[in-house]
Symmetry: C2
Subunit: 450 residues, 2 copies
């Protein structure tokens, strides 16, 4: 480490894990390269608010370059990582245009996150997108608000009902939040907006194969959550597995057998799988992966035989830690701190110790459940805690005030500000993917341009 | 008019003309159908702030249904008008899906606005988009912020300069506002964001064939504006006509002869032409059109021989009135008031009298010029007047506060909140249209998905 050139750290991914690692290294004598495919840090816990028209994309996805403006030792590369050479210690990436990139490192932090998992049915994705990126959320926003538009156009009551039925698959925090917000916007925010349909007649169905929604929160909170979810108008369908997804329907295997439910708009929040970069790293080393592709790292978040390579956040399998923002932040910081310690000459191996700051999920406006060190809180008090924590972690002073203002006006008032459906979405996406015609179908393109 | 069924008014277009007509008719005994291709009312005077990352799409484009929520006599149809039958008094429109629409009317207000004009060179549009719709502004946002990203990637100084050269064609209010904001974001907002390039080295060129920018404001203000534009860092190129537009360059015929200027990012604000619906109406009647396709209406904004058909706003040619929001609002209201008067039994023809409330254009933060009844104001006082008027006319209480807050933080502070480039834009748009490769080019699609 007594080299003359500074220690080079490459971080793959600008989510919670990667961003907090980069920030931690601000005053360390290192040169950091942060590689991400997008120009923004997506604040995933609030993507559902982008998808349902409460916040704008800028509010939930600040530009990485701006967030790291005062970190002169961090260089952001807009590129897509394709390979690692652990022997030569380089990361290969493609760029939007021009020649690819090969970035050498002394230490590597891989924090490329996770995507939705369709359990071997990737063909479901087109009709039931997940919600892991800003693109996903904007796509869902156009589909959700577009569905009400389509229902208003339809004359046939059955066709209307198909547009006014929303299926959310998976009753974890994201699924519960999405279902709750779709129900609220149909019952409150869209009131008075339509003349033929009553948006409040929309059915919002939340499917899960398990016994209870938000199962990780424990029985008492689950029971409370169940009551509150149902009060928002969401129909909970537990013990129900979705076995097929069609443009205009889903097939559900429930307690009473198989059922086909007509609906155009589906949201998939049933499973996650680690970024495929995880499998790539595992193959190159003796690390294993679990069924969802998480990399089984050593207790200090490194790869076996490669103490200079850290895998953190949603990509790592370690002590059964959940794929939540808090784990990603803390493990990212752990990796960064370890790198700094080593540069300072302290090469002792220190295991990553997760400080559980509790978990929380919103159910509807002013309703959330919070579990923290054995304390279980629900209702309005839970929501206040949720709002406080999310405002604290939202990046940037301005975004906090805007979010607070938008929450107050959206939840005390009724409207949703961010409901824009672009013509490009009309032609390329909403309809094509919701009714199953070819994207770029001539009729749709003509509509958008004509 | 002593019919039992209510008088049916059809309004084509939800811009300033159409929306203000619909609002005016709130308490009139009429049934209104407002037809628009999009789900929103685009506040065109602020689209440049959407394109340069200051405001979100929701702030400049509130949903039409929400704006008209408390107008139960207005039905909004998301459809694309394709034909008029002035004899049968019906409007034909296509919808996103399903059978088309044929809407009968007793009175018709056509307020379909204008689009950019390329003076016979429509092939320029792909490389130099205009800024008339939310889609246009989002496209430009991705191109502008994407250009800095591409410059950061390039190693070759000349290629970097091509990405860091921005050409705005047409020095009317929109062109001046765009050029000024691109200059400000390169000099202030992006400071510290990049490591290889200095965004402040960006060149922003503003071309116009005339003698002065903002020519309609008169000599004294023009001189002031010229000084202030140049102070922002924009290079004014007057007496310069753009004769060709390529993916990576423009060709300019200027006072010193022909010049080829290498640049990827172009904005077209040089000319407008009325919606093609105007020519359709003129053909069906004895009305003429001017060179830009504006319909020559009678003094009361109606078509010759069709007192029940009004053409208002940017589509009409009347006494040389300019294509500005104020004319659109007032002529829309004039049409609506005429319809109401006739229902009340007053069939006298009343000419449309435009009350000139002045015109204004922002040049940079805290700098605007205002011309009002012979009073000419520039500088900070002009900007305060500009801000006051725009906040007053922005639709919705919330959007006003958000806009004020964003202006304060963007202009006193430095950052731009709304800089999201989606992956879809990366693959389909920014690059494809800025460097001239095929949209959907395989390499780009792979980058976005991989």
């Amino acid at each position: 480490m007594a080299d003359t050139s500074p220690h080079r750290v490459v971080i793959v991914g600008g989510g919670f894990g990667g961003l907090f690692a980069a920030k931690f290294l601000r005053r360390a004598p290192v040169e950091v390269t942060l590689i991400d495919r997008t120009n923004h840090h997506a604040f995933q816990p609030l993507l559902y608010q982008l998808a349902t028209g409460i916040l704008s994309e800028g509010a939930v996805a600040p530009p990485l370059r701006e967030v790291l403006r005062k970190h002169p030792n961090v260089r952001v590369e807009l590129a897509n990582v394709t390979a690692f050479d652990l022997e030569a210690r380089t990361v290969a990436a493609t760029r939007v245009l021009g020649p690819g990139l090969s970035v050498p490192y002394d230490s590597l932090i891989v924090a490329a996150g996770a995507t939705g998992s369709y359990f071997g049915h990737d063909e479901f994705a087109r009709f039931a997108p997940g919600m892991k990126t800003v693109d996903d959320a904007l796509e869902l926003r156009a589909r959700i608000f577009g569905a009400f538009e389509m229902a208003e156009i339809e004359e046939d009551p059955e066709a209307q009902r198909t547009w006014l039925t929303f299926a959310v698959i998976g009753a974890g925090p994201t699924g519960v939040e999405m279902a709750g917000q779709i129900a609220e916007l149909s019952r409150r925010a869209l009131k008075g907006n339509f003349r033929r349909i009553d948006p409040a007649s929309a059915q919002v169905l939340l499917f899960d194969g398990g016994d209870e929604p938000l199962a990780t929160f424990g029985d008492k909170l689950c029971a409370k959550a169940t009551r509150e979810i149902e009060r928002t108008g969401v129909q909970l369908r537990m013990h129900s597995r979705v076995t097929d997804v069609k443009p205009d329907a889903i097939v559900v295997q429930g307690p009473d057998g198989e059922e086909r439910i007509a609906c155009h708009t589906k949201v998939w929040s049933a499973g996650v799988q680690a970024s495929p970069l995880g499998a790539m790293l595992a193959e190159a080393t003796s690390a294993g992966t679990d069924r969802a592709g998480h990399v089984e790292v050593l207790p200090d978040c490194t790869l076996p035989g490669h103490p200079e390579v850290f895998v953190v956040g949603d990509m790592m399998a370690l002590n059964g830690l959940p794929g939540v923002a808090e784990v990603a932040m803390q493990s990212g910081i752990h990796a960064a701190r370890t790198i700094k310690r080593r540069i300072d000459g302290d090469t002792a191996t220190k295991a990553f110790v997760y400080r559980d700051l509790g978990s929380m999920a919103t159910i509807s406006r002013f309703r959330a459940i919070v579990s923290f060190k054995g304390i279980k809180v629900g209702g309005f008090l839970g929501w206040l805690m949720w709002a406080f924590v999310h405002l604290t972690f939202l990046t940037g002073f301005k975004n906090r005030w805007i979010a607070l203002f938008k929450w107050l006006t959206a939840f005390v008032g009724k409207s949703r500000d961010e409901r824009t459906i672009t013509m490009q979405q009309v032609s390329a996406r909403i309809i094509a993917n919701q009714v199953g015609v070819k994207p770029g179908d001539e009729d749709l393109t003509r509509f958008a341009q004509g």
